[in-house]
């Protein structure tokens, strides 16, 4: 999956590798173990939904969609190209498997809350998953949405905060600190779980706990490493919205190869 992200952003000559790599493990867990989805029926009305509220991690979403068979893996190389359907930010109208068009921060979580409410209104059992960035928490709309979800006890909603601690201009702490994140969601009537975003045992346990939590939505605060898996990208603020050059691409792919990463 990480190789797909690197390949896609390398070929796009732009994009967001850092925040895609930090989100990669949770996305692959969601699509391969957690969610009730079928790439052959991307519009099944009873499917679980995933909303990438941090839409700039589109390379991660496209990579997992390719691994799941929603889109051909060869298309990943067309990311952000002028004739490609793989837009810089997810486009639900042209990419099978994308449940909501996102990219403007703070908006995806509202759509996810709407989907969760709709499931309740229609007595349907599908679940909704949304992933937010930690910098995204600075958007006021996130808290409007959280207030609604918490006050309506939408326990079919799980929000994941990809807490890689970095945003474009610096660390989230120095720009405008969202900490303490867990306490904030708890105050909005969420069930809160803290995990290591790159530990599959913790990821698995957290989503299991979220599913069994009744009467409250769940927020999983996932402590992650921006650029995870590529040594020179890890925890480096400069890799938010920059693509690797040829040399960096080769090094990144070698490192990921060594770690046993598979690509689609």
């Amino acid at each position: 999956m990480r190789k797909n992200i690197i390949t896609a952003t390398f070929n796009a000559k732009s994009g967001h590798p850092g925040g895609s790599l930090s989100a990669a493990d949770i996305l692959s867990y969601l699509y391969f173990e957690e969610m009730n989805v079928d790439s052959k029926a991307p519009h099944d009305e009873n499917r679980d939904r995933f909303v990438l509220s941090k839409g700039h991690a589109a390379p991660a979403l496209y990579s997992v969609l390719a691994l799941k068979g929603y889109i051909p893996a060869k298309d990943l190389k067309t990311l952000r190209h002028i004739d490609s359907y793989l837009q810089g930010h997810p486009d639900m109208k042209h990419t099978p498997g994308v449940d909501m068009s996102t990219g403007s921060l703070g908006q995806g979580i509202s759509a996810a809350v709407g989907m969760a409410l709709s499931a309740k209104v229609q007595n349907k059992s599908f679940r909704i998953y949304a992933m937010l960035g930690d910098g995204e928490l600075q958007e006021g709309q996130v808290w409007e949405a959280s207030m609604f979800a918490g006050s309506h006890g939408l326990d079919n909603l799980t929000v994941v905060v990809d807490n890689n601690n970095l945003q474009i201009d610096g660390t989230v702490r120095e720009i405008c600190s969202p900490y303490p994140i867990g306490e904030k969601f708890r105050a909005f009537n969420f069930h809160v779980i803290n995990i290591d975003a790159h530990d599959f045992d913790q990821i698995r346990a957290a989503f299991k706990e979220a599913k069994s939590s009744k009467g409250k939505p769940t927020a999983i605060i996932a402590k992650s490493i921006k650029g995870k898996g590529v040594s020179f990208m890890e925890n480096a603020v400069g890799w938010h919205g920059k693509a690797p050059n040829e040399e960096q691409y080769k090094q990144a792919m070698q490192e990921l190869e060594k770690n046993g990463e598979v690509s689609a």
Partner: protein, 312 residues
């Protein structure tokens, strides 16, 4: 013209109740203004299908987008100021860009909001919504048209912005052959000296003004443009070819609304002299709605005066 007066926001609330009887896939949303937007009428009838999102319009628009992807048709309601203004980017990116089937019922449009004053008098919503690709904009002229607009909005697949008013206005469309066709202008009065192209509550006032002018020998036609986008180019161009002089009348800024839309059509297809009557690039203020409409020259007397001097 009958003397029964109804605010189009009232028509909206009533029409939603009727719509749900036929289409149980609708869901009505509001942002703590149900008593004012009149979705409270629907809430009373079908409380389980009315969602009050609280005072958080940006989130409400996003939620409506999400809901629309799950097989329901949301009618999302608040004042025009907050629907088109505050939540513009949510409407653009979460609803417009994915072309989702969300219907926006925006009430309290224009200066006829009255006493609440400039912060709540939205004279910019048509201009804002018109720039969103694929957005349909309906600005009905009375109770009959407002009810028809709600059904038409439901029948249309894609986002629709409906503009309703707070002020009770006379019924002008009580004709046996009345039929609402999305995107089709309606000739209410034929004329040879000039044509008034009006929308919303200014339509009735424009008709009244035309009748007054007729008594003085000025033969002015009136066209009702209830659908501002997509606009009926044909009826506008035909009117300009026939009468040469065109006047637009709207309770909206003269920038970017009906006046702007008509000028765009005519400058490309039939260059004509156009007088735009509306809010002249200024803010409103508090006062009774009818007094404000008079002050801004948007009642029959004001329209009569402006059109008469334009035609001199």
């Amino acid at each position: 013209m009958t003397t029964v007066k109804t605010a189009t926001r009232e028509s909206y609330g009533n029409a939603l109740v009727e719509l749900y009887k036929k289409h149980d896939d609708i869901i009505v949303m509001d942002a703590d203004l149900a008593a004012a937007t009149k979705t409270g009428i629907f809430k009373k009838a079908y409380p389980e299908r009315h969602i009050d999102c609280g005072i958080a319009e940006a989130n409400m628009m996003g939620m409506a987008a999400g809901i629309s992807t799950t097989g329901l048709v949301p009618f999302v309601s608040t004042f025009a100021m907050f629907a088109a203004g505050r939540a513009f980017e949510q409407v653009r990116n979460s609803i417009g860009y994915p072309h989702l089937n969300v219907k926006i019922g925006a009430t309290h449009a224009g200066i006829s909001v009255g006493e609440d004053g400039a912060t709540h008098q939205c004279n910019e919503d048509i201009a804002l919504m018109r720039t969103i690709p694929g957005m349909v904009i309906i600005n009905p002229s009375d109770d009959i048209e407002a009810r028809a607009a709600v059904t038409a909005a439901y029948d249309h697949d894609g986002p629709v912005y409906m503009r309703f008013g707070r002020l009770a206005i006379p019924v002008i469309n009580d004709r046996a052959d009345y039929k609402f066709e999305l995107g089709k202008g309606v000739t209410l009065r034929e004329g040879t000296d000039a044509t008034i192209i009006a929308t919303g509550l200014c339509t009735g006032a424009s008709l009244e003004a035309a009748e007054k002018m007729a008594q003085r020998g000025l033969d002015v036609g009136v066209i009702n443009i209830h659908t501002i986008k997509p606009i009926d180019k044909e009826i506008i161009v035909k009117a300009a070819e026939k009468t040469k002089k065109i006047i637009t009348v709207e309770e909206h800024s003269v920038i970017g609304g009906l006046g702007g839309a008509v000028c765009e059509v005519l400058s490309e297809n039939c260059p004509s002299t156009v007088l735009r009557i509306g809010v002249n690039d200024c803010f409103g203020h508090s006062g009774p709605a009818t007094a404000l409409l008079h002050e801004f020259g948007l009642d029959a007397e004001g329209i009569d005066n402006k059109v008469s001097s334009f035609l001199k």
